[in-house]
């Protein structure tokens, strides 16, 4: 029999998890925004908004310390970061477009060299997904092969019911364990009907066709047309659930400090700038081309996946109105 959980019990589950020492991260009001942030109590959970930034920072923080160093009498001491310090985490009310992203990023953070910062957090995190019953004009998950009811990427998956509460589906073993462990909070779904999933508008994209065009069109006037507008602000990359470029920098003095890994963006002019001043991607059209190629060709060539879940954040945030879906539609129609 399918299970269900009331909204009250979902909030109670968060309270219980927090009390037991887990880090619980979910949509929360943060100033004028909603962000995925650590929740202190179930009542903080916001169930109506798509958070401004994606959930990737639960695994891949905006900025994190990868080591510390100190210069003493006996030379330099480098101190490792103990992955044991990453807490058991439950991500709650994660939208399908965000829940799908870690499954895409696993490939780059584990090929050949394992990034323990990402992977340890992945291992210690359970994702409770939440189906979308509303979409806005920027949403296009269905166009890239996902959907507002997509369970892939979630461990437990919630679908709002017409009479209130959520139908609960265990997608993975991790999800089943959560369901069993907190069985007192879950009931039988009975005859309660789930609300219909949202229906993002827009044409479905033929990703193989887009890939074939990208394979053949490294040189195309399209790149310049888009780049004439692009301000190179990087907002798209910072909001994207699947962008993974980063920088490594030292903060501190020669005597003492930390080395940090921070988000970066291929749209920034200095991203690829050589020490000599030579820059392989010395113009914005080359940088935008790299962004789109990386998402729909290069990553596919390497890992058989594309770096986009159709969340629409880059479309909503772009200060000059560049709409990646419209760009993809154009390529799709070529």
């Amino acid at each position: 029999m399918p299970k269900m959980i009331t909204e009250q019990n979902l909030r109670a589950l968060i309270d219980l998890l927090v009390k037991e020492g887990s880090r619980v991260v979910g949509p929360k009001a943060a100033g004028t925004m909603t962000l995925y942030e650590p929740l202190a109590a179930g009542e903080e959970l916001v169930l109506t908004e798509l958070p401004r930034r994606s959930a990737k920072e639960a695994f891949f923080p905006l900025c994190e310390t990868i080591l510390t160093y100190a210069k003493g009498e006996e030379g330099v001491q480098v101190n490792d970061i103990d992955p044991a310090r990453f807490p058991e985490t439950v991500l709650v009310a994660v939208r399908p477009c965000d829940a799908a992203a870690p499954g895409i990023l696993d490939a780059v953070f584990s090929w050949d060299y394992d990034d323990q910062f990402y992977q340890e957090r992945r291992k210690k995190t359970a994702i409770i997904g939440l189906a979308c019953t509303k979409a806005d004009d920027a949403c296009f998950c269905t166009a890239v092969g996902l959907s507002p009811a997509e369970t892939q990427g979630s461990d437990l998956f919630l679908t709002p019911l017409s009479g209130g509460g959520f139908r609960v589906e265990a997608v993975t073993e991790k999800g089943e364990k959560l369901l069993a462990r907190y069985s007192q909070l879950f009931g039988e779904a009975g005859s309660a009907q789930p609300l219909p999933p949202a229906e993002p508008g827009g044409e479905k994209l033929e990703l193989a066709r887009i890939k074939a065009w990208l394979d053949a069109n490294f040189e195309s006037p399209l790149w310049q047309e888009i780049a004439d507008r692009c301000a190179g602000c990087g907002a798209c990359a910072f909001l994207c659930p699947a962008c993974h470029c980063f920088d490594i920098n030292d903060e501190g003095t020669e005597a003492k400090g930390a080395r940090r890994k921070s988000w970066d963006a291929c749209g920034f002019a200095k991203f690829t700038n050589h020490a000599s001043g030579h820059n392989p991607r010395d113009a914005q059209n080359k940088r935008y081309r790299n962004r789109l190629m990386h998402k729909f060709k290069y990553y596919d060539d390497k890992f058989g996946k594309h770096l986009c879940t159709g969340c629409g954040r880059c479309v909503r945030a772009c200060p000059v109105g560049i709409d990646i879906k419209a760009v993809l539609d154009e390529i799709n129609s070529k």
């Binding site: 330099v76 291929c266 392989p280």
Partner: protein, 281 residues
């Protein structure tokens, strides 16, 4: 490789054992790993690179400039042009640096056995070939003729000057050194002319020969047609790409040329591979 940490971003510590100013702003460092186990087990192949750090300033990417046949230390060579390289240059003998690596692919030296070698380098791009040159000279019997064509803008810009003299003195190496027109002083005993022109004059035979070319993009651009004219096939020409990197591990997303990750698929490529890439490097 000694796995002393699961943290792939954690560098080994190394002490600056020697330093040498190659030019007014280019410096070589000889580094000895502080950990005995690392010192014994660190191995690399010619062509591989590392991330070198000056703590407090950050990391920079350079090739390992010494030969894998010379054990117990590694060397790097860099121009002081930014925050990290300025900081590295301010360090003294006995100071500590961080080293992560070795990363990337390497020159397939075993495939060169029995062949003649032509090295063509310009300016500060001699270090990635110097590792191969010494590697091959230390196994001299395994190779045929060895020709080195090396040039810089001026006499003062030539790196490894003492080694150029050493190679010049050897009977089993043909060194052709050159400086750009106007870069020669009154006592200059080498050629005057750009590297591609001097290479064409030197005209090394292409039969059973491999060419290894490193230099600024402009030099590479004009050298490849010369090699082609001399009869070198694209598969017989090797070069390295020197894109900006941060992680060196195929993750941070900045060194790619199309779908080729220079840090993982390179930095060593044949001319055939380079020609097949999008021309964005």
């Amino acid at each position: 490789m000694c796995d002393h940490s699961k943290n792939i971003y954690k560098p080994y510590l190394a002490t600056i054992a020697e330093l040498r100013d190659e030019t007014s702003d280019i410096r070589s460092l000889r580094l000895v790993f502080q950990d005995e186990e690392v010192r014994e087990k660190f191995t690399f192949r010619a062509g591989q690179f590392a991330e070198y750090s000056a703590f407090g300033a950050g990391e920079s990417t350079f090739c390992i400039a010494s030969s894998p046949t010379r054990q117990g230390y590694i060397e790097c060579c860099f121009r002081a042009v930014g925050r990290v390289t300025d900081a590295l240059r301010s360090l003294e003998v006995g100071d500590t640096v961080g080293v992560r690596g070795p990363y990337g692919n390497s020159f397939p030296i075993e495939e060169f056995y029995g062949k003649n070698l032509v090295f063509v380098a310009g300016g500060i791009a001699l270090p990635p070939l110097r590792t191969v040159i010494w590697n091959c000279l230390d196994l001299r019997d395994k190779f045929g003729d060895i020709t080195i064509v090396y040039g810089a803008r001026t006499e003062a810009d030539l790196v490894y000057k003492h080694e150029l003299a050493e190679w010049e003195a050897r009977s089993d190496v043909r060194l052709v050194k050159t400086v750009d027109p106007g870069g020669n002083g009154p006592t200059w005993d080498g050629k005057v002319g750009f590297v591609p022109t001097v290479l064409e004059e030197a005209a090394p035979a292409a039969a059973n020969t491999v060419a290894l070319v490193c230099g600024p993009p402009i030099m590479i651009k004009f050298t490849l047609p010369v090699l082609e004219k001399l009869g070198f096939a694209d598969d017989a020409i090797y070069t390295t790409l020197e894109n900006r990197m941060k992680c060196g591990l195929g993750k941070c997303g900045r060194c790619n040329v199309g779908n080729v990750y220079v840090c993982k698929d390179g930095p060593v490529f044949t001319a055939r591979q380079v020609k097949a890439m999008p021309q964005e490097f």
